[in-house]
């Protein structure tokens, strides 16, 4: 992998991730203090990368923004920001105004924190996150928004609600199926009688956000994202967190419920009963497919490309639910070797499936070379080839899938060729949808 550049980066910057997070908080109006094209840039990005999801009430090109110019770069941008904040409050309602600072104000040294402290009021609470693009990627921006919520928005709680849990680890928009996946987690946790609070998306509400410290636990469904914030939450409010892999499909959901049940000290009888009943329902739906699924020879060798959550969760799903062979799993995140090891060890410790081969890469030529080494054309008459192939990856792997002769389904960022609304793959019902979409992808010409 190159140290000098990223090829077609599979995420946006800190500001992009933070805007997607803050803009999808309930009753929250984000305000960008940034250059003039950042909002447009994110709108265009989501068009081609996030399942066509561009606008929200205060997203896309609706977001208030200072659009700072040379004048502000030379003389400072605080006057312009002050004016923008005051006018935003006049024009747009919100229970929270969330200032996000981009590259320019941070390089020129605008003291946005002081201005926000001056202008915030009980009536119009104003918070900020410092999320210049050069500070990190979309995942970093998501984490920074969570940290601001913990520091400034979530109120300490005198008591804990035993059945209430906060769910973290799915960054809005950067995880294209985030809305459906959060709902999937709500459904899963509901099987154990738990109530999920997840801050983001159409079904979140502001009072639940501010009351988050009354939860008994935080559940982080990622080997990577949301962990820093969960640590901070634990330190500040004394609420412990449970880390689990993202559960796509039935087998992973079984493990998820078992793990959460243990951590929350739910009687194992209750957990086992929930798992058994969910499995019965799941297979009642799946059963009619068994005939044709078997007879049309559906088993596939799989190439998976994606960020850490989905790359590993898809590996689990294809191996354990469908009984396919994950030949090559490519994780695209830029991680230091120790973080790479941590992520993989964690996934293994949680009982996840290890693919035949796993690499960290995000450059098309490297991915193609690894794939072609596995799927070489047969040199001899009798050849243990790994056909047929299924490519579960991003839209950028379409041409590779074609070269390999495999069917392709866009499941990881960037997704340009699917419209994503409520679809998600978490949980048992999510596993049914993933089965439907996968099979539909390879029988499209049937």
């Amino acid at each position: 992998m190159s140290d000098a550049f990223l090829e077609r980066p599979r995420w946006s910057c800190s500001l992009g991730g933070a805007l997607a997070a803050a803009g999808n908080l309930p009753s929250t109006t984000p305000i960008l203090h940034a250059g003039p094209g950042c909002a447009g840039n994110f709108a265009w990005t989501n068009n081609g990368a996030a399942g066509l999801a561009v606008t929200g009430s205060c997203l896309g090109l609706n977001v208030p923004a200072t659009n700072i110019q040379e004048n502000e770069v030379v003389f400072g941008g605080l006057d312009r920001l002050r004016e923008e904040i005051l006018n935003t409050i006049k024009l747009m309602s919100g229970q929270l105004y969330f200032v996000l600072t981009g590259c320019l104000p941070e390089v020129i040294g605008d003291d946005v924190e002081a201005l926000v402290a001056e202008l915030t009021s009980r009536k119009n609470p104003l918070v900020m996150a410092s999320v210049a693009g050069f500070k990190g990627d979309s995942y970093h921006g998501y984490e920074e928004v969570l940290k601001t919520l913990i520091h400034k928005v979530i109120k300490p709680s005198a008591s804990q609600e035993k059945d209430l849990v906060n769910v973290w680890g799915i960054p809005p928009t950067q995880s294209p199926f985030w809305r459906g996946d959060l709902e999937g987690l709500k459904e899963l946790l509901g099987l154990l009688g738990l109530k999920a609070n997840f801050f983001f998306g159409p079904t979140a509400d502001f009072p639940s956000l501010t009351r988050a410290a009354s939860a008994s636990h935080n559940i982080v469904v990622s080997g990577l994202y949301g962990l820093e914030a969960a640590e901070l939450f634990q330190n500040k409010f004394g609420v412990p967190y449970v880390q689990t892999p993202l559960p796509l499909g039935a087998a992973a959901s079984d493990r998820f419920l078992t793990l959460v049940g243990q951590a929350l000290k739910i009687p194992s009888r209750t957990v086992k009963k929930a798992i058994r009943e969910a499995g019965q329902r799941h297979y009642a739906y799946l059963e009619p497919l068994v005939d044709v699924f078997n007879d049309m020879e559906s088993q596939r060798h799989v190439l998976i490309v994606g960020e850490v959550n989905y790359a590993l969760a898809l590996t689990d799903f294809f191996a354990e639910d469908l009984g396919w062979i994950p030949e090559l799993t490519v994780i695209v995140n830029q991680l230091e070797p120790e973080s790479q090891a941590q992520v993989l060890n964690y996934h293994a410790a949680m009982g996840g499936t290890r693919p035949e081969k796993l690499i960290f890469a995000n450059q098309s030529q490297i991915i193609a070379a690894e794939a072609k080494a596995i799927w070489e054309p047969p040199a001899t008459k009798y050849h243990l080839n790994r056909q047929p192939i299924f490519v579960a990856a991003s839209s950028l792997e379409r041409s590779l899938a074609q070269q390999l002769g495999g069917a392709h389904l866009s499941l990881t960022y960037p997704i340009a060729n699917r419209a994503i609304l409520s679809r998600g793959y978490v949980g048992y019902a999510g596993g049914l949808r993933l089965t439907e979409d996968t099979v539909s992808a390879f029988i499209a010409g049937r």
Partner: protein, 489 residues
């Protein structure tokens, strides 16, 4: 001295100081009036929403170029919009017989250390590695905001690195904060292409039938075919630049008989250069959107080339054929009201077309306004009154206007239609490359799409019942242009 002799192109503000960013008022004069630009140029807003910087349209052109790597020099998110541009690139390449090909863009993904120590070394290393990895003909090194602030010297890096690579390195100065007008995008891209892809002297003798037709990112192959067909009927061959043009083909532009702009605010930078350096004359008036506009565009070309008679005959034939086809649709449109928002020229020219179709124009929003479009506004002033608003998107003004004006249909730029849709107003995109907008065929196709949109606007009616906009109810009671103010630059 030509602008192209200097490594860094001037911004629009400097080259066209009359360019306006913020304006809103009723147009109610009939006939010519005093220069609109003089009144408008010194305004901005006390409240703004996120907008589009020159990098976005520039990337639209750059990502389309075959055998080219776009190397974004900036933070990792700067230019992540290339994901959106790539949708057009794939469609455009597929239409041109090369399906399934993604654009190639890279980012130097500047981090905190680079911001402190400078990003030049990283950029140089990226150029060398990109050349070895992708073997492109051209590497466009594109500066986002960050290098502009930390002072990276793009041209210096290119000069130092050029000898180490096979590809031509083209520095593109696209720092978003340096210009308020996205039209600067066209100049910075033309600047890079003009400095590096054109020969020292004309590549060969003038080709008597070759016409440079300057295309824009919003034109698809469909529109190019229409213009090529019309020029073909006059015995002319249209060569399209710069969108989707092969790097080596630019030299051909120096041998053309004449150049013609499709969107006058888009092309003067390059066309002046072709004339000054290679003596290729140019026409930069009118946009071939609308029936009369298309005819005028063709007649201007015909006149310059001594083809007036055959052009008149062509125009007459085309207009008659189109009039016959539109006769069925016009009664359906008669008296319906429309509101238009898009790039400067496209919004104004489309308004003229809508009037030709029988619509009443209630309002027009242009992303900017400059002297190129005075002629277009003057044409519109011949008709009924309308609201004229200059805004780099700014949907809050639009929402306020639409609530008041309640048009039957809204026509807007790519990503500029959702405010109308959320208010329940049927919306028609007028910038989506691949659909026909230009020429006589474009006029008919837009009419056809408007017909089907108005025939069943159910989607918008339902969206309008439930979708939300972020504004307080009180905003709709205020004057829509109350945040526009005079400034002293």
């Amino acid at each position: 001295m030509s602008y192209l002799d200097s490594p860094v192109p001037p911004i629009r503000e400097r080259r066209h100081p009359e360019t306006a960013l913020a304006h809103g008022a009723a147009r109610c004069g009939h006939g010519p009036q005093r220069s609109t630009c003089a009144v408008l140029a010194q305004s901005d807003r006390s409240f703004t929403q996120g907008s589009i910087c020159p990098l976005l349209p520039a990337l639209g052109i750059m990502t389309s170029l075959p055998e080219t790597v776009v190397l974004l020099h900036g933070a990792v998110g700067c230019g992540s919009c290339a994901n959106g541009n790539n949708v057009n690139v794939r469609a455009g390449r597929a239409a041109r017989g090369d399906p399934g090909q993604d654009a190639m863009w890279l980012s130097t993904a500047l981090n905190e250390i680079n911001v402190i120590n400078g990003g030049e070394e990283k950029l140089a290393a990226a150029i060398v590695e990109a050349d070895a990895t992708y073997h492109p003909k051209v590497i466009l090194t594109v500066s986002g905001c960050l290098p502009g602030v930390i002072g990276d010297d793009l041209d210096g890096v290119a000069a130092k690195t050029q000898s180490q690579v096979k590809a031509k390195i083209l520095p593109v100065h696209c720092e978003g904060f340096k210009s308020r007008f996205m039209a600067t995008a066209y100049d910075v891209v033309y600047h890079a292409l003009g400095r590096h892809l054109l020969p020292e002297k004309a590549a060969g003798p003038t080709d008597p039938v070759a016409v440079n037709v300057m295309n824009v990112g919003s034109m698809g192959l469909t529109d190019e075919k229409e213009l090529a067909k019309l020029l073909g009927e006059l015995g002319l061959v249209a060569n399209f630049f710069p969108v989707f043009a092969r790097p080596e083909s630019f030299a051909q532009a120096t041998q053309a008989r004449i150049s013609i702009s499709v969107c006058p605010t888009h092309d003067d930078y390059f066309l002046r250069h072709l004339e000054e350096k290679y003596h290729v004359p140019y026409i930069i008036r009118h946009m071939p959107i609308g029936i009369k506009n298309t005819s005028q565009w063709l007649l201007d070309l015909g006149q310059e080339l001594g083809l007036t008679k055959p052009t008149q005959a062509l125009v007459k034939k085309e207009e008659a054929e189109l009039a016959k086809a539109l006769a069925d649709l016009k009664p359906f449109f008669a008296g319906k009201t429309a509101f238009i928002s898009a790039g400067e020229y496209r919004s104004l020219a489309t308004a003229l077309l809508l009037r030709e179709l029988g619509f009443k124009i209630l309002g027009i929003r242009s992303f900017h306004f400059d002297s190129f479009a005075e002629v277009e506004l003057a044409k519109l002033d011949q008709g009924e009154d309308f609201i004229f608003n200059v805004a780099n998107v700014q949907p809050f003004e639009e929402a306020n206007l639409l609530k008041r004006l309640k048009p039957d249909i809204f026509l807007g730029h790519w990503h500029g239609n959702s405010t109308a849709a959320r208010l329940g107003i049927p919306a028609q995109v007028i910038y989506n490359s691949g659909y026909a907008y230009l020429g006589y065929q474009g006029a008919y196709d837009l009419a056809r799409r408007l017909y089907r949109r108005l025939k069943n606007p159910a989607f918008y009616a339902r969206v309008g019942q439930f979708a939300t906009l972020p504004y307080r109810a009180s905003w709709y009671q205020e004057e829509p242009f109350s945040h526009i103010r005079e400034t002293q630059q």
